[in-house]
Amino acid sequence: MLTIQTTKSLHGAKGEMLLSVDLEITKGEFVAIAGESGSGKTTLLRILAGLEQASGRIVIDGAVWLDGAVSLPVQERRIGFVFQEYALFPNMSVEEHLLFVNPDRALAQHLLAITQLTSLASRRPAYLSGGQKQRVSLCRAMMNRPQLLLMDEPLSALDPTMRSRLQQEILTLHKEFGTTTLMVSHDPSEIYRLASRVVVLEQGGVVADGSPKEILLKTTGSQKFSFEGEVLEIEKVDVIFVAVVAIGQQLVEVVISPEEAKHLTIGERVEVGVKAFAPILLR
């Protein structure tokens, strides 16, 4: 069980902001932290790691990490931290990274095997791809068998294929080590796939907390499908208007009335929904 009751005033881009978080997390849970940039997600992870001062109380499985202003040093908290930008040591080989944390060779071999890094064990970071680097970072984080695994947008710099492979490896390690895991992520599909719980931060406070299904499936009213998109072009075709809308990587054409066309501007964010009929799936 992880209990977090912490406050810290931040000087963000939008001026003063109070980060105030009160959470209970079950042992072994996988929690995704979502929210806009500047909402305090990274700071929360850094407070948990002991890299940032804060007041409040953090207790994990009976061990007190923070109580008032008394804070356990970062070295004595059993955590793993995976940074977005890898933070590897240029002077060490892949294997040396792992043994640096803990001289347990068997564990290192095991982790390298799970993440398919065995053949790269003697390479230095300069000769690794982004995905390989993040795997090293992940293995390094697991080497001291962390009570708490913290990941700050670990996969956001990787391409989609690599991302999905690493998601699987993260899940495997999370389950095998029984670690309580907190991951900052912006990617709904990633959150849905990995997390059992989502906490949404806004302006330093928790605004939503629930299962990924509850939080992410946003279909309001009678709409069956609803996507957010951006209007790229409005074109007059005979008597009707056609709007080209970008939804993620996909462009779609939507027929709109002249009245609607008048009120839409290029670049505006809109919701594209289907209401009256049952959608069909095409493949």
């Binding site: 933070a87 040591f89 002077n91 640096f100 300069a126 001291n144």
Partner: protein, 230 residues
Amino acid sequence: MLEALGAVEFAPFWLSFKLAGLTTLILFFVSLPLAWYLATTRSRIKPVIEALTALPIVLPPSVLGFYLLISLSQSSPLGELLASWFDITLVFNFTGLVVASCFYSLPFMVQPLQGGFESLNPTMLEASYISGKSRMATLLRVALPNIKPALLTATIVTFAHTVGEFGVVLMVGGSIPDETKVASVAIYEMVEVMDYHSAHIYSGVMVVMSFLVLLSVYLFNRKQSHRFGL
């Protein structure tokens, strides 16, 4: 040419290098914690320490030499203390030169090291702390091995700068053969007595050696940055 070199007394060069080598060695161990502290602290007194460290760069060597002479001489409280308790005198002898050189060359060791440490990715150091390593272990096993070019620059420039010092040496050490008469002082004296022939040879040796040393630093740094893929 070789005959001319054979006739030259090389003791002042040897003394210069002995002085520079010792100074570099001492300064390395003094500056390492100081530079690490300056690079990682958020303390408000940091600018004060930085300014004090940089002082020998801007002060005329004669000013630094004058103060060192005054404070190390046996009539000063410090000099008196050293003389009566440890039987050490620090003016007009080699030991005094080493002490003076350490002050004089301090910024040339501290500043490249501090710059090297500051250029390191701070999250990399945090990753080491998270791995359970103390600040000392992080310094020795993560920070230091990743600033090799800065390390080399610091030691070589400190060495070269100490070989090249003149004003402070003259003030604190004078010109005692085999004790304080280093190469730069020797050249000054040769010019004073119009022995241009020896002065040419000494100066030429200094120019060539200094160039070779600096060239090897830059070549090494180029190779290093290729190796780390920077």
